[in-house]
Every structure is written in C-alpha cells, then in structure tokens.
Amino acid sequence: MYTMQDINGQINVYRLVSANNIVAQQDAIARAFFSMKSVSDGKKTLTISPISGRLTYTDAGRIWQNRSSTSLPTAALEAQQVAEEFLRGARSRFNAFQSRTKVDLSQLIPSQLSHVLTTAARNPGEAFIDHWLSIFAVALPTGISNPDSAPVDAKIELRMGPNHQPVGMSSTWRPFDSWQRARHIAFQGAPDSAQLFYHMADGEDPQTFLAPFYFTGTDDVGSFSPASSYSLFAGIETQITGSGIMLTAVTPDSVPGPFSYAWGAWRIDDLATGFRLLATGRQQITLMGVGSYNVVLDVQDQTTGAIARTQRVIFAAQPQEQLVS
C-alpha cells in the first residue's frame, strides 16, 4: 500500500486550533450555526469543551418532542440533503463572520466532509420518527502519494428535526489552522496489512496535533503504531511488586522524546476524594492502597509539543496507607 519513496519522505501533520480560541468564538458559532443569541438561548444549548473544543448542541425543547412525522423528510436521501444543506449554510455563515477575526476557524466544519449514514431516530413506543440522524466523517490529504488521503477517526453527528431545523449536534472533530510536513515513519511489517488514519483524541482529552498512525488487526485485537514523528501515544504497563502495583508510562520507540509526565487518579469506590494528582516528572510510580482506581497519565513530547493522555482502571489490593511511592 505504501511506496518506498513515501517511507523515507515526509507526511502531513495538522496543527489543531486551541480549545481556548474556539471557546472565545462560542457566541459567534451559536449565532451562525443555530441562530441563537448566545450559547444558552431558551432551551437551546451549545457547549464547547474548554479542553478539546468539540461542539455539542441540543434543542431540548424540540428533540424527542415530536408528535408526528409531518414536516420531516420522508426518505433518508432527502434527509441527508437537508443535513448537508444545513452544514453548508452554517459553514458559510460562520466563515463570513470569522474572516474578520485573527483566529482561523475555517475548518470548524471541515471542507473535506463526507456523508456516512442517515437514519431515522424515534422514541421507543412511538410509530413515527422524531428526527433524522446524519453522520459525517472526514478524510485529510496525507501529502504522500499512496494513500493520498486518510480517514480521521472523528465524526459530526447532526440531528435534523421538523422544518429543516437542527435539534442536536455532536462533533468529535476539532479544526486545524495549519499543516506541516513531518518525518514519515515506515510501517514495521507487511505494508498491505496496515491502514493509515489520522487519530483524534477522546472528546475531553487534550491534543495539539492531528497526526497519522497505522492500524492493523480487527476491532478486538489490533495495533496502533506511529506514522510520523508527531504521532505520540501513551500506554501504561504494570508490574505487581511487594509494595503495590508499579505503573510505567510507555511511549512508541519511534518517537524519541524527551517527554514530560504527569499522573493522577480518582477512585471508583471513594468518589468523595475526587481526582488527585499523584506525581509529575516521573515515568514510573507505584500504586498502593486498597481500592478501585481510575489512573490518568499525561505525556508530552518536549521536542514536538505533541501531547497524549491515557487512562487505566486498576483494582489495587495492597494494604498500605500511602497512595503512591
């Protein structure tokens, strides 16, 4: 799938707009997309994550409130066209506004959007549909010859209600404001077995670059590996020791760092304690004490600025007082 001239070349990496810059435009987004006065307008709510910048919109006064299927498209193709027209209009209205600002949010609704599915959504117990759900995906140019574009594991879900009005939207897509060329890392294996894709972090996780990865395998068994020098991911390995469970941050060999580390956790069985910082600057910690922990690890590449977050649930059973050593 990949030609030799690609392997030693460079590949596109996209710099994501900071969440703060998206939040700063939230009222303009609310107006342009949903004709709202601000992010909260009656029963309409637009939420923009301050961590990731992802968008969520709900019209609580209309979603799941439909009492008939009149005023709705009757077929999926027509509903798809309604959704596409809405996105085109929202993009056009917002871009007309934001062309006057310093921050480039032109990819808030990406120009490379492709339709995946449109289906009817209904309440249980009701014979008529409430609204139409349309799902859109994105593929981005790779800057290499084969493949010349790769899918992003992000999506925009748009729910269109009666009279061509949106009743809900949820997007895991984050806009970029520039792209750059980065070192292309060769796939370690038979090239035909790997699929190139751009990885978008979880909806509430930090991310600075949209970078390419290889995926091999199936849904339940598979492997990620970096396809560029910006393609950072983090893992946690464990070892049971006499004093607790030792946790070690792992990063891909092909992304050399150096790295910054920070560890935190909250307990499933002690919610009152809340989220606590465990350690910073250490690749390894030992989790002690008895309890059910959700451990959080942040890793940042000091060379590229790429950041990755990962989490693990650990059921620790060492009768110690101290939480970490």
Binding site: V116, R159, D202, D205, G217, G222
Partner: protein
C-alpha cells in the same frame, strides 16, 4: 413520594426520580441517554439485604432505599467530582448523582446489638472515548456509567450479632436504540427490539484463533429468558459478561459490539496479555486484570473480595397487564432466593427472546465475610457498564477490519430452562 427532575449534564440526559417513604426505591434514573443515544429506560436498586448468616440462627433483613427503615438523609447532584489540577492539560472529571440513606435502628433487628447501616447510592458518569480502554485492542469508543451502591458499617460491640452478609439487587431496563433506516413501520407502543448475549472468556488463546477460541462459553443471542451465575464468591463462574444490542440486519460483531451496552465483571487472562505475534493487543494489560492486578480475577471492590453475582435476563413489556406485575419497575421486585422472583412469576419455562424484545437485566450481588467485629465497608458494581454508540463504526470503516458477526452457542444447554448452563450447586 417521588421527586422527578429532568437532568442534562455534560453529554448525558436522564430523568432523575427520587423515591422514598410510601413510594420507596431510592435514586432511579429513567430515559438515560448519552449524546441522545438511548441506554436505559429505567435503572434502579430494587432491594438491599443484610444478614448475619454464619454465627447463630440466621437473620436476613431486606430494605428498600428510602423506606422508613432506610430513610433518605442527603441527596446531591449532578455534581462533578472534586478535582485538583496539575496534569499537563486540564482533566474533565466525571460527575455523579448521589443519595445517602441512614438507618436509625440496628440493621439486624432491635434486640441484636447490631448497629445501623449507612448506605450511599451513586451513579457515576464518565466521558465518551477509547480511554480507559474497553477491550484489549483499545479501539472501541464508549462511555461508562457506574450504578454504585456503597455501605458502611461501624465496629461491633462485644456480644452483638455480627453483620456478615450484604446483598444488592439491581433492575436495569437497558434499551439500545433500534435504527431502521427508512422503515418506520413500527407498531405504536412497541419497545425497541433488543437482543442480548452472555459470554465467558477463554483462559488460553493461541494464534490463530476465532470466536470459538475467544470464549469458553457463549449464548449469542440468548435464546430464552435466563438465570445465570457470574461470580462464585470471588472466583469465575458460568458467565463473565452481558452484551445487549438492538436487532439489526446482522448480529453485532463479537467481540467489540460497537452499538451495545456492555457489562463485564471479569476478563479472561488473555485480555491482560500483550502479544508479539499478529494481531497484537496493544491495550491488553492491567485494565482487564482484577483485584490486586491479578489476571482473570474479578473486577470488584478489593475491600469486599468475597462476592457472588447472579443475574436474570427477562423480557419487558411496558403495557400494563402484559407482563408479570412483580417485574414492573415500581414493584422493586426482589425475593430472598433470587431465582424465585422469576420462576414464580413466569413458571418453569422461560420465554423465547432470541428474535428481539424489550429486555430487563436483573443483577444480584452478594458480599460476605467471616464473622468479625471490625468495621466493614465496600462498593458494589465497581466494574460499571459501558455503552458504545457507534451506529456505524468509523474505526471499522476507516480501518477496513474484518467482521465476527456469527451466532454462538457454546458451553450452554439448548433447553428451555431458566438456569443455563445449570443451576449452581451451592445455591440454597
């Protein structure tokens, strides 16, 4: 008395019903949706049982949350967990709905010398994503909800009857949304047609493997209503997990159903083992170990390692009179012997549910300890429920991965009986 509030917080929406006194039941969540995808019509704890079963004549008491015997003291929510910063980037903490219940009388009876029991009910809601990983490859997006029930019992005085047994019964009317494309010819009043599968993970996996090797046992889909055992006092038993999905053109992929409710209380050892050969499992590891980080151990609160988990899967028809009254939500059905609630109401022949119907999952978790005067506390349902709502798995589309959508019938019996594969021998 019931207090009903519509809630919208983060990406979750639900109706919070606080039931107490003559309408006891505690904190009930209804019409639970995440990003508008339906997960459950009703989630609740039907009953809490407490006992002194080992030393002396057995005592077993049952309580409904919010009743006069276990009254509500405090309720809070939705509120985010307390947090401190310091990670490299801000962390979005989960949020919770909580209700506390405090007994005023001794839990085992007035003349037992026992102490009142404190109970806290929490629903904990997390964010959608791949982390923490939900399966060994770490490629399935999902959100987690933890219907937690915690208890706290103080030290006992000399001569008092000793509390050595706590049981919590859940009624989970999970409902996974059925998308039918253009076909909207569903009869009014019908529920989504859901199917369900139960599985027990294999303990040894050698490449190459297929679905038959991944699981030691499985019913996909479950053919008739079912009673099963999930844990046998802290060790694995007949089943490790339950998956519920809506009827579609095909069965969902297994493992890894991308639009389904998943309840895993134990993973087989291979889920913790990274593999060097193709295909590797990059997220295999501690996420799938159990108490003490031990592979194959149950994912339960280490403070109450002695747990037995029984469950029932029944059909659910909301039309009044259409199903056993004892199974309707506000009955808070629960019997001293878990199985009685189902066999007495339905009879000895469970219904065929294989082609899809409304469903209810009933889970009963017991904890026991040796008689002790020490304080005792623990939390039930620490493994939680995860809900993947990818109508179309973009990961699957993006990565052109294979499909494992075949049915499975292994390690069970093809008979219209409640307990499958069989009734556990150590049940009373």
């Amino acid at each position: 008395m019931s207090k009903v509030d519509p809630i919208s917080h983060d990406d979750w929406t639900y109706t919070r019903v606080l039931r107490e006194r003559d309408a006891a039941g505690g904190l009930v969540l209804q019409d639970v949706r995440h990003q508008q995808y339906l997960l459950a019509k009703d989630m609740r704890v039907t009953r809490l049982w407490a006992g002194s079963l080992i030393a002396g004549k057995p005592i077993l008491k049952d309580f409904q949350l919010g009743s006069a015997a276990l009254p509500l003291s405090i309720t809070t929510g939705p509120i985010p967990l307390p947090t401190e910063q310091g990670l490299i980037a801000p962390y979005h903490v989960p949020f919770k709905e909580s209700a506390n219940f405090e007994m005023t009388d001794p839990v085992l009876g007035l003349d037992t010398g026992s102490q009142p029991l404190s109970v806290q009910q929490d629903y904990l809601f997390t964010d959608y994503g791949k982390d923490p990983p939900h399966e060994p490859a770490g490629v399935i997006d999902a959100v987690r909800i933890y219907p937690l029930l915690s208890f706290r019992y103080p030290a006992s005085t000399a001569g008092a009857r000793l509390l050595d047994y706590i049981r919590v019964d859940y009624r989970l009317a999970l409902t996974v949304e059925q998308f039918v494309g253009d076909a909207t010819n569903v009869r009014k009043g019908t529920e989504f047609q859901d199917q369900i599968g139960v599985f027990r993970d294999g303990e040894v996996l050698k490449f190459p493997y297929g679905i038959d090797e991944v699981f030691d046992a499985g019913e996909k889909p479950v053919k008739w209503e079912l009673l099963g055992e999930g844990l046998d006092w802290g060790t694995k038993s007949q089943w490790d997990n339950i998956h519920q999905w809506a009827v579609g053109k095909t069965l969902p992929e297994t493992p890894g159903a991308s639009h389904a409710a998943h309840i895993h209380w134990r993973w087989g050892t291979p889920a913790t083992e990274k593999t060097d050969y193709f295909p590797p499992k990059p997220k295999a590891g501690p996420q799938f170990a159990g108490v003490g980080g031990v592979a194959g151990a149950p994912q339960i609160d280490p403070r109450i390692p002695q747990q037995r988990l029984l469950f029932a899967i029944t059909s659910f028809t909301p039309t009044p009179g259409a199903g056993p009254k004892a199974w309707s939500a506000d009955e808070n059905g629960s019997t001293a012997h878990f199985e009685e609630l189902f066999i007495k109401a339905r009879g000895s022949a469970p219904l065929d549910i294989s082609s899809g119907t409304g469903l209810v999952v009933w889970i009963s978790i017991e904890a026991r300890r040796k008689p002790s005067r020490d304080p005792w506390q623990g939390t039930f349902f620490a493994h939680g429920i995860f809900f993947a709502h990818e109508v179309v798995s973009l990961g699957r589309l993006a990565r052109n991965v294979g499909k494992v959508e075949s049915p499975l019938s292994k390690g069970t019996v093809n008979s219209q009986i409640w307990w499958r594969p069989k009734r556990p021998e150590n049940l009373p």
